[in-house]
């Protein structure tokens, strides 16, 4: 297919043709094209359907502010809805589809909505789908969801990768137009670390779209030369295809770099996009300006676009939407479009200027004091009707109409920290004002300086000021410096269907209706009419809505105010926000020192926080987890088992005040603990609730090794630092985590000592006399390797924990297995560990659940009255010490086959089952292979005085009622004889 509307020159590589499809039809374009420019060159104006009325639409703009030309790019898993054709860089093989139409773009069944537009006015949804309320979820919402929305998702996982990154600079320049380029050149030559980011793939901004000269060269060439010079500076980083989406606190900016969006698929291992966090103490916003439309009857037909965008298509992309075009303007800028297109051989049907004194031209007709009153053409513009100064009407044939209502500075980023812009009467536009984000300066058109000279000069000046550069300012190259005044002209009187927000189908009439119905705050207007709430966030439409509101309210525009601009500046893919943190990489994984060995043994792993721990070790023939777990428990209690407990937090506490420090953080006493001894410790929060428990081993007068639960390791360390730095600043205490430094294994069971004696070097006496219960020591194993040994037990058996430097953990585990063969040593996982601790009645996370006190846990007497510790005072509160306080108890089913489940509640044997009669709840439950039935731990009102009582364990959720007997929580070896054996 020929590119019928392709003009001469432009910034395209004409030697290469790129083939692409739109709605299945083949077209050709060139490198440098966007999808929109290539389609226009191929005489395609119709590119989409509107959101609500499904009106045929073509591109309104040539940039990221585009409301209409929204398409689906690519197919399969890479299908990407709601992509602006005006920014989609053309590549060979690109396939695009129009959206929001069925069955096809030229005939869309849902366009019937357009006929019922009188019913679909502002607030339609609010008014219509109110009653009956029950209909909302079942009927209204599904229908609306189906009919509304633009593109469709592929419903497949995004196959591409996204990265996040961090960059630092002295100066971030946002926008590489004339202002931004001159800033970059000034700052770059001064040796500053500069980042220049621009959303376009070609830097230069409007210079690429204009025919102005700078100095003695074309503006686009000047831009290219500046970019080339900047490219040679090692201190300047050019970031094209990068949109700065937000200005955050203290000079942190978010920016999305589209690394591979212009390729069919990203290169191998390369990301699709990168979300950069840019740290910049100074930033220069050089984001330019956006042209604004004028609203008139049927102003949304394909072919009607902003005049400066039409000019950009002609100059930069050598494309015109039609061979015969008209211009509708209220300012001089519209005439530039006419001149440039005329110079390129496009027929100018007329320039329709609202001003009675509009400049005349020899090249084409100018209609002074005229307005466009209506347009024709169902799928594309064919005629415009003009109401002339003398009130006569004239019909003008044209395939495109360029509309210019003046310019608005792109000041969005100045408002990201609640800065509010100010109205400038000369420009009839909002300009940056008030409190800008710290370190931000605005230059060029973004600051209301619309001439090229103004952009260049303000850029250089702002750069020098922001960076504190001294010396004489370099000369500003010659450039156009036309004075700019803008007289507001928002809409043509008497129109009924004049579109303000073309993406969300909001008309002038909707705004008037909203005002009539009392929605008079600008924020209410926005939500009631949905003006500015589409993917373009009203970049071309908000100002028109405000102006009409102001008019209706008889106020000035600044009195009406603006809505708040928030990040992101343009739509941002969720994938970019996620970066690499997807699936398995959502968080880091921590492996225990015995992990590879456990993997070889076929262990089943469970995630515990970030840790992967062996849950159980199935043997051949075992088909159910209970078989493995029961065997592991039984074998450990019968002989010896080994479990990796490295994951417990270990904190090295040293210093002459270490014991005093532990006295403060634990509710029980540590000052008198002898060197070589370990003690159980309970930590309270200041409000008297239990926080964590563990052991502290005194390895020297001034050194303890404190253990925490796996889950609370980081939190406990943080708490200890708080106490050390904020409450005991003068104490001589030093803390450091050593969790991962040591591979630590529990060796439990009646044969544990015999097994360890084969490994611990002979000079260390680990007999019951030489190394009694709760002893600890630095020892050596396997012929001299430094190790730590603790005689502590979680299982209730004779048990030890042995630690060696982590790199030897794998070898030590294999050695324990080899040496343990004589005793049928059994590795056990977290399930067996859990069963054994329940059998022994040891509290764990289920019991230390953030609501329980030392008293509840049966450790009330541990809270020392002889000293002050964190939480000791508030643990004495009467409310926590009622006579019927919950007490930890054991529970066993009256019928041995009955189930005990955690989470169930305890009720008296008779009486109602309700919250008022609640007696407590079950925290942990397991099948005890030792006892041959299920057992549970729980909290029961006045529990310690209710041994032997029968209760009902109920779980209304699972419809469970079981009779249970209250027993001691110490199901196994209640006298503790085994641990001392």
């Amino acid at each position: 297919m020929t590119q019928k509307n392709r003009l001469a020159s432009g910034q395209l590589d004409r030697n290469t043709t790129l083939n692409f499809t739109f709605d299945g039809k083949n077209y050709g374009g060139h490198p440098g094209d966007t999808l929109a420019s290539a389609l226009l060159a191929n005489n395609v104006r119709l590119m989409g359907r509107s959101f609500k009325y499904h009106r045929p639409r073509g591109p309104l703009t040539a940039g990221s502010e585009e409301p209409n030309a929204i398409v689906e790019l690519r197919s399969g898993a890479r299908q990407e809805p709601n992509t602006r054709a005006t920014t989609a860089e053309l590549f060979d093989g690109l396939s695009a589809k129009s959206q929001n139409r069925w069955p096809c773009l030229a005939f869309d069944a849902m366009a019937i909505n357009d006929r019922f537009s009188n019913f679909l006015t502002a607030g339609f949804y609010y008014k219509t789908f109110m009653w009956p309320a029950a209909f909302w979820e079942k009927i209204y919402e599904p229908i609306i969801r189906k009919a509304a929305g633009l593109g469709s998702l592929s419903m497949q996982a995004d196959p591409d990768d996204y990265d996040k990154g961090f960059r630092h600079c002295d100066l971030l320049i946002i926008g590489a137009g004339p202002a931004g380029l001159n800033v970059a050149v000034t700052a770059g030559r001064a040796g500053k670390q500069v980042i220049l980011a621009d959303e376009d793939f070609r830097m230069g901004g409007r210079l690429n779209a204009e025919t102005f000269a700078i100095a003695d060269m074309a503006g686009a060439d000047w831009a290219a030369q500046a970019v080339a010079e900047l490219g040679t500076m090692p201190n300047v980083r050019l970031m094209p295809r990068t949109t700065v989406i937000g200005a955050f606190d203290h000079g942190i900016y978010g920016a999305v770099e589209r690394v591979s969006d212009h390729l069919a698929t990203p290169a191998k291992c390369k990301p699709r996009q990168i979300l950069w966090r840019i740290y910049a103490p100074q930033a220069l916003l050089c984001s330019g300006a956006t042209e604004r439309p004028i609203a008139f009857e049927n102003n949304d037909r394909p072919g009607i676009m902003l005049a400066a965008s039409m000019r950009a298509y002609a100059n930069r992309w050598a494309a015109t939407p039609a061979q015969r075009v008209a211009i509708f303007t209220n300012n001089d800028d519209g005439h530039r479009t006419a001149q440039d297109l005329h110079a390129k051989g496009v027929k100018i049907a007329a320039v329709i200027d609202t001003r009675a004194d509009a400049p005349r031209s020899y090249d084409y007709e100018v209609l002074q004091g005229a307005q466009v009153s209506d347009t024709k053409g169902r799928l594309g513009l064919t005629f415009v009707e003009v109401s002339q100064a003398d009130r006569s009407t004239r019909t003008i044939e044209c395939g495109a109409l360029g509309v210019s209502g003046g310019w608005n500075p792109n000041l969005h980023l100045t408002c990201h920290q609640r800065g509010r812009p100010a109205w400038n009467d000369d420009l009839a536009a909002f300009v940056p004002a008030g409190t800008l984000p710290p370190g931000m300066t605005v230059a060029g058109a973004a600051n209301g300086l619309f001439s090229t000279h103004g952009a260049l000069k303000s850029g250089a000046d702002a750069a020098r000021k922001a960076l504190g550069l001294k010396g004489r300012a370099p000369a500003v190259p010659d450039a156009e410096d036309a004075p700019v005044t803008q007289t507001p002209f928002w809409y043509v009187e008497g129109c009924s269907r004049a579109w303000l927000d073309q993406q969300n189908d909001v008309t002038v009439k909707d705004v008037k209706l909203s005002h009539q119905e009392g929605f008079r705050s600008v924020e209410h207007l926005k939500r009631y009419t949905t003006l500015g709430m589409a993917t373009d966030q009203g970049k071309t439409s908000n100002i028109g809505g405000l102006a009409i509101m102001a008019e209706l309210a008889g106020k000035a525009i600044p009195e009406v105010g603006t809505t708040i601009f928030r990040p992101p500046y343009t739509p941002t893919a969720i994938g970019a926000l996620a970066g690499r943190m997807r699936g398995k990489e959502f968080h880091p994984t921590r492996l225990t020192p015995s992990h590879y060995w456990a993997e070889e043994r076929g262990a089943v792993f469970v995630e515990v926080g970030n840790w992967l721990r062996a849950q159980w070790f199935p043997l051949p023939g075992e088909t159910h987890w209970r078989q493995s777990v029961d065997r592991e428990v039984t074998a450990t209690r019968a002989s010896v088992g080994v479990c990796d407990c490295t994951t417990l937090g270990k904190i090295d506490v040293q210093g002459t005040d270490a014991a005093i420090f532990l006295n403060k953080i634990y509710c029980n006493g540590f000052a008198k603990l002898a060197v070589g001894k370990t003690r159980y410790g309970l930590m309270l929060r200041e409000d008297g609730i239990a926080m964590d428990d563990g052991t502290a081993a005194r390895l020297a007068e001034d050194q303890f090794v404190v253990t925490t639960t796996t889950a609370n390791a980081a939190k406990v360390y943080q708490h200890m630092e708080f106490v050390r730095q904020c409450l005991m600043p003068d104490a001589d205490v030093q803390l450091i985590s050593t969790t991962e430094a040591w591979a630590q294994y529990a060796v439990a069971g009646p044969n544990s000592r015999r097994l360890l004696q084969k490994i611990v070097d002979a000079e260390h006496d680990i007999s019951n006399e030489g190394f009694p219960f709760m002893a600890c020591a630095n020892i050596t194993v396997c012929g001299g390797l430094r190790a730590r040994l603790f005689r502590i037990s979680f299982s209730g058996e004779l048990a030890f924990e042995i630690a060696v430097p982590a790199r030897y953990g794998d070898a030590l585990m294999r050695r324990l297995m080899a040496e343990g063969e004589d005793f049928d040593v059994t590795p056990y996982g977290t399930e067996a560990l859990g069963v054994m601790r329940i059998e022994k009645g040891h509290a764990a996370g289920n019991e230390l659940n953030g609501t329980t006190t030392a008293l509840n846990l049966g450790m009330g007497r541990m809270v020392s009255k002889a000293k002050d510790s964190i939480g000791s005072k508030l643990s004495e509160r009467p409310g926590l010490n009622e006579p019927d306080a919950l007490m930890q108890v054991g529970l066993k089913p009256v019928k041995a086959d009955d189930k005990v489940t955690a989470g169930g509640h305890l009720m008296n044997a008779t009486g109602p089952v309700d919250a008022r009669n609640d007696q407590g709840y079950v925290t942990s439950a397991a099948y005890s292979p030792t006892l041959g039935h299920m057992i549970g731990l729980g909290f029961l009102k006045d529990g310690s005085n209710r041994m032997g009582e029968t209760l009902r364990l109920v779980s209304p959720v699972t419809d469970l009622t079981v009779k249970v007997e209250v027993v001691s929580a110490h199901f196994v070896d209640p006298e503790g004889e085994r641990v001392r054996a």
Binding site: I252, Y279, E686, D687, E721, F722, Q725, C726, L727, P729
Partner: protein, 89 residues
């Protein structure tokens, strides 16, 4: 936000863990404090729209706890101190 660490210079607030109001440092004297004092300390916090002294733990850094004086309405930080040095005075 950027917190200007007294020893390390400007650091991203993402490296820190927020620990709450700096009043947490004023733990009541266990010898003399009343039940009300303890109640206030454990449960009552000001929630000012304006200047707030608060604790930030540099978990992803040097493990110092900093007292950051921050305007909660603008995020402007007017002072950053090492909590241990302040507590030790």
């Amino acid at each position: 936000m950027i917190i200007n660490h007294p020893l390390l210079g400007p650091r991203d607030s993402a490296e820190f863990v927020y620990l709450g109001a700096a009043d947490l440092m004023k733990r009541p004297d266990p010898e003399t404090a009343s039940a009300d004092d303890w109640h206030d300390y454990a449960y009552l916090r000001d929630n000012p729209a304006g200047v707030h002294r608060e604790l930030w733990f540099h978990e992803g850094g040097d493990r110092s706890i900093l007292i950051v004086t921050r305007d909660t309405t603008t995020h402007e930080i007017s002072s950053v101190e090492l909590a241990r040095e302040v507590a030790s005075k």
